[in-house]
Subunit: 381 residues, 2 copies
């Protein structure tokens, strides 16, 4: 099948579903191989909240995402660099992807001024003023040392009019060129990002502009930012024929179970999302039969595991009654155990899809997923 050898990176598509375009592949990186499609847990501040790296590996994580904006703010990229890079700093020896901070400066920080040169913004921590340019972001990402780094982009918000979506897209393309010129480490793969909001023609234009820079992979940004899921799927359908075949396609910030299934069906290879660990900290579990809000009184004397089909440490050793107690008592072990379980659930879902692609049974997999997961949860997705 398709192979794209660009040492130290290369991507092999080892099977593809002829009906849907879903692919099973292997992405070779300096820190090891990633079997795709893959879900990446999010380690915003150089830690996937509440999980030791060994727990994360046990949960099936092949690669994690960390946030450039947050690490620049705290502890500072120079400190991570002096520590020997992000892998060593956080003791994670598998691949890492860093985003570019683009999404954060446009959503989390207090925006001050956007120009072609870059973005002035105020820190969400202490209000201090900072300036991100494509060159600055490459300097930060190079210092952090992830295997995969994302370009600095401008993400227009959900509901943006066509004019702003167009301007943000054009700027993203100009910034891509500057990122590519400034990026200096051959052991890091730079991914361009497709923008264009919900305008199909802009999306296609953005794909075309990104393709020359998609040597190792391509990111799709600006989705799952508030739009109805069917709109996101339409945009993915529209882009699919135009996306490069020989590199991994990464749908940024998407990771609810149904979106993972629908994304894979549309040829997406990589996903990340804070959902699994965030809802874990709120006491919610993802299971093969739908979501479980562990705090609910119905689990007070439920001495069964979260998910009978799950083999994770949490499901092997703990009952819903115990987890409910931990959540109610405000114990941090609740976050650890539920995160461990939720990450295991999503990595298992991806592995299940990968195997279905290899066996040519992805359609059945999807049907069963909806019959059991969505059905049992009565739409609680």
């Amino acid at each position: 099948m398709t192979t794209n050898p660009n040492p130290p990176f290369s991507f092999e598509v080892i099977a593809a579903d002829p009906k849907t375009g879903a692919r099973a592949g292997i992405f070779h990186t300096p820190h090891g191989d990633i079997e795709t499609p893959v879900y990446m847990p999010v380690g915003t501040q150089a830690t996937v909240k509440g999980l030791l790296p060994r727990d994360l590996k046990e949960a099936g994580a092949q690669i994690i995402l960390s946030n450039t904006y947050h690490l620049y703010m705290r502890p500072g990229h120079e400190i991570v660099q002096k520590a020997g890079g992000l892998h060593k700093f956080m003791h994670w020896d598998r691949p890492i992807l860093t985003d570019s901070g683009g999404f954060q400066v446009f959503s989390l920080a207090q925006l001050n001024k956007i120009t072609d040169e870059g973005v002035w913004f105020h820190s969400h921590i202490d209000g201090s003023k900072h300036f991100f340019t494509p060159e600055k972001v490459m300097e930060i990402e190079n210092a952090l040392g992830a295997d995969i780094i994302m370009q600095f982009d401008e993400c227009s918000e959900y509901g943006a009019d066509r004019d702003y979506a167009r301007r943000a897209l054009d700027r993203t393309v100009r910034w891509l060129e500057r990122c590519a010129a400034a990026h200096g480490r051959p052991d890091q793969a730079l991914f361009p990002i497709v923008q264009g909001n919900l305008y199909e023609d802009l999306r296609l234009e953005s794909v075309a502009a990104a393709r020359p820079f998609a040597r190792y992979g391509i990111g799709i940004g600006g989705l799952s930012v508030g739009e109805p899921k069917p709109r996101m799927y339409e945009i993915l359908d529209a882009m699919r024929p135009a996306l490069p075949e020989d590199v991994p396609r990464y749908l940024m910030g998407v990771g609810s179970p149904d979106c993972l299934v629908e994304g894979v069906m549309r040829g997406i290879d990589m996903f990340d999302c804070v959902l699994a660990t965030r809802i874990a900290r709120n006491g919610t579990a993802l299971t093969s039969k739908g979501k479980i809000v562990v705090r609910n009184a119905e689990y007070k004397e439920d001495f069964s595991p979260l998910d009978e089909e799950c083999g994770c440490y949490c499901c092997r050793h703990y009952t819903k009654a115990y987890l409910r107690h931990l959540v109610n008592a405000g114990e941090i072990l609740a976050a650890t155990l539920l995160s461990l379980h939720n990450v295991t659930f999503l990595t298992g879902l991806m592995r299940g899809m990968r195997e279905a692609i290899l066996r040519g049974t992805l359609g059945e997999f999807r049907e069963e997923f909806y019959a059991r997961y969505a059905g049992a949860a009565e739409g609680k997705m």
Copy 2:
């Protein structure tokens, strides 16, 4: 040496320091052997905060303590019993000790009324009114199913006058008789508790009253509640000749490194304290050279481990700079890693003392401890 066979419990003193009375022993329990002297991490709400049981074992924990008052309040002892007991509920297959709630109802809850019959108090969680009697506490501790259970006692506060200390002691003795009569599980060892505040004659009287009930072990309560450490040591010195030789002696709620050393020197075999895990959550580490406040700016670019001599997961894989980042960023992994380290430090300290007792070098051990630990920390104990 001394052996006290009371299956399923027995205690062997395998070595004793002739100069100090410090002992090295093995306490056999239904959930395994405990090498003494031993430090017990505290798992108040059926979890040692932030640590998976496997992490706790790796940190050297042989036995943990859990709190009867807290588990009665939440999730309720009946639920723990229905779950198959505390060991199964929290997935801890080594020994557990439960306190009696005495200390908590007199310190944490809002006291309402103390009579010979029992204690009325209000929950610290929701203000609801509850009544603890010796019989009720035995019912709760029997339901929880720990290996070692403590009698219900009245702990007079630091500064209490002789009259109140006397009344609390007398009531503790009467309650002991009722606990012994109500306790119904031969697989649980009931420990009486010595009270008497800082009055040496009352302490000796209390020891004498407790001894007939000290079949498996004896607890010493009401110390480390605010008095200067030398006062505590004087009381321990005064009690030592009167304490039974053939059972473990447990100094309740004591666990700073220096108190552990001084306690062992005075013939104490068991200790528990929240200190190690509580200060971990505040970002403080116990090390062979003294306490480290990880948040301090001096560790910003310190890429060495917390303790060069420690082999725990935290010290093998992480630097002070990383831990400081986690603490500053409010990441719960900071609590996990520092707790793992601090528990490892205290279990290592106890193991070191045990080996010194076996080798007859406890005096040198103590000298070296003070020279390095206290000296390096400039009195920061």
